[in-house]
């Protein structure tokens, strides 16, 4: 997870520049005024899989029941029928809205969201995917259809800041490679989400921060945890897998503040943590401060369920490392994304779960 994207000096840099300039010419000549996507090193790159962008549940079942060839044939047959939105769809629309606002204020800047479709679908299915993207007017101009191969290398090639998928194995691989990633879940009921503001909610431990404190809770209990957090209040926690993504959001937020748009900022971030403000909250806030990061609202639940609070917040996405919280959020209509990181993966509702043998 690099905070700053280093300038990539490849041997083909000349051809890279040629492509870059030629791409501008191509996009400028398009009848629909679609702007050329930004250079990966300048943008906040969000990679979404096809099943998070669109609802492909029925097609997935066809693939599992009848195999690859039947599945691809079906997709090709129906390629002019747009698919229904998936869990990441509202998030993507909210990102697009932020881009519109950013372009208004900074017409020449490349510090924007860049959305990439990262799927291991076969390229022939791609036609239906592109048709669907066009149907909804989504600004997704880059994609990788890997025909079955792992997306990890391509995620790195695009300098991805966040990867969303339905496949928890791929997400785990990405996190292990230092890329912020989460497994998305469709909520069980519909929710009215803001169309003018991107709202992102994060759990604290093992998402923004490392799981060091969670280990203490799981292994030694709450009392030890409180003592430990008080004692080490001034020692910043280590960073977690989504810290860099929060940082990227903060960087874009400051661009709005610089233009006096703080009250009208189209990005809002939330911390939703089971910690309690009085006994363990200070360390978290001090850690954020030491990182130079701001979070707009910090909500300490002191162990209360997260579902009802999230229902009020209505984020476009909520990141948590524990499936227990993901389930609770889903039930009440929040689009949730599981971050498979840290000790929380070995427990369910406080009990150690039997780990299946790794294949």
């Amino acid at each position: 997870m690099s905070e700053i994207k280093a300038e990539e000096k490849t041997a083909g840099e000349n051809s890279g520049e040629q492509d870059w300039e030629a791409a501008k010419a191509v996009f400028d000549s398009l009848k629909t005024k679609v702007p050329r996507p930004p250079k990966p090193q300048n943008a906040v790159t969000i990679a979404v899989s096809s099943r998070t962008l669109f609802n492909m549940v029925a097609e997935r079942k066809l693939y599992e029941d009848e195999g690859l060839e039947k599945y691809v044939a079906f997709q090709v047959e129906h390629e002019n029928e747009p698919m229904k939105p998936g869990p990441a769809f509202p998030f993507v629309k909210a990102l697009m809205n932020v881009n519109t606002r950013l372009r208004e204020l900074y017409p020449d800047s490349e510090e924007l969201f860049d959305i990439v479709l990262m799927t291991n679908n076969h390229a022939q299915v791609g036609v239906r995917l592109i048709n669907s993207i066009n149907h909804y007017g989504l600004t997704i101009e880059r994609f990788c259809m890997t025909g079955g191969k792992s997306p990890i290398g391509y995620l790195k090639a695009y300098m991805t800041n966040l990867y969303l998928s339905k496949d928890s194995e791929k997400v785990t691989d990405a996190i292990e490679e230092g890329i912020a990633a989460a497994t998305m879940f469709m909520p069980e009921k519909e929710s009215d989400l803001s169309s003018t503001q991107l709202r992102v909610a994060f759990d604290g431990d093992a998402v923004l921060f490392s799981d060091e404190s969670e280990i203490i809770v799981k292994q030694h209990g709450l009392d030890t945890f409180f003592e430990h957090e008080k004692e080490f209040e001034n020692k910043p926690l280590a960073q977690g897998p989504l810290k860099c993504f929060l940082e990227a959001l903060g960087k874009l937020q400051r661009k709005f503040y610089a233009k006096n748009e703080r009250m009208n900022c189209p990005i809002r971030t939330f911390l939703v943590t089971a910690r309690s403000a009085a006994s363990s909250g200070a360390r978290v806030l001090k850690t954020l401060r030491s990182w130079g990061l701001e979070i707009d609202e910090a909500l300490f639940l002191a162990g209360a369920p997260k579902g009802p609070l999230l229902e009020k917040i209505r984020p476009h996405i909520f990141f948590d490392d524990q499936m227990f919280h993901i389930e609770g959020a889903k039930e009440l209509g929040t689009i949730s994304a599981h971050v498979p990181y840290g000790i929380g993966q070995k427990y369910n509702k406080g009990k150690l779960i039997e780990q299946p043998k790794k294949k």
């Binding site: 492509d19 076969h122 880059r142």
Partner: protein, 215 residues
């Protein structure tokens, strides 16, 4: 080693259908006079590496395209961009061999369709070259169809570096109309191609000899 992989494709084709005629026939051609003097050692070398080269062809630089045509070459592979350009202009479809592919063993022939890879757009598109390009593509497509989607010894990849999703989509459909069903597709939208290409590890780069497929 492109030849080894082509042989592997032949093997699999024969596995599927022992009476198969549509196989890859490999001809080694060189215009280098030093190499021609070493002809004996080149022939031995290919035998030693287990390469089934059906013909060896030594010609002068000025005549090599004639040699290609005399031998009915349907696809000319070279690491030299200029040679590829010349051959394409004269109506012999050409592809670049990836210089790095020798170091990357693979069970699968990876063919990359890359718009404007080396040859300038429009430079190679005479009516003759387009026709031969299309017929070669159709044959390639047929060979690919003999294998399923899964575990195929041939893989077609499309990379578009400059345009957006719509131009990539229309290229996908044009190739499909010619009988070439692409397996993987990457639309770069101006992003640097180096990192992606180094992951794709193609053996063959087919480019603008096959440009203007809608024509």
């Amino acid at each position: 080693m492109a030849s080894k992989v082509l042989q592997r494709v032949n093997e699999r084709l024969l596995e599927e259908n022992p009476a198969e005629h549509q196989l890859f026939d490999i001809i080694l051609i060189t215009t280098d006079s030093w190499q021609q003097q070493q002809s004996f050692s080149i022939i031995n070398s290919t035998r030693r590496h287990g390469l089934e080269v059906s013909r060896f062809c030594f010609s002068k630089e000025e005549d090599f395209i004639e040699s290609l045509m005399q031998n009915n070459v349907q696809l000319f592979l070279t690491t030299d961009g200029n040679e590829a350009l010349q051959a394409t202009q004269q109506g012999v479809p050409s592809a670049l061999l990836d210089k790095n592919s020798a170091s990357c063993p693979s069970e699968q022939l990876r063919v990359l369709f890359c718009e404007d890879a080396i040859i300038q757009p429009h430079a190679g598109s005479t009516a003759a070259s387009q026709k031969s390009a299309q017929s070669f593509l159709a044959q390639l497509g047929q060979i690919r169809q003999k294998f399923g989607m899964f575990n195929s010894p041939v893989c077609f990849t499309l990379v578009t570096s400059r345009g957006g999703k719509d131009s990539c989509c229309s290229t996908l459909k044009s190739l499909r109309a010619l009988g070439v069903s692409v397996d993987e597709a990457y639309c770069l939208g101006g992003a640097p191609r180096g990192p992606i290409l180094s992951l794709l590890r193609p053996h063959l780069l087919l480019s603008d000899g096959f440009g203007q497929l809608d024509g």
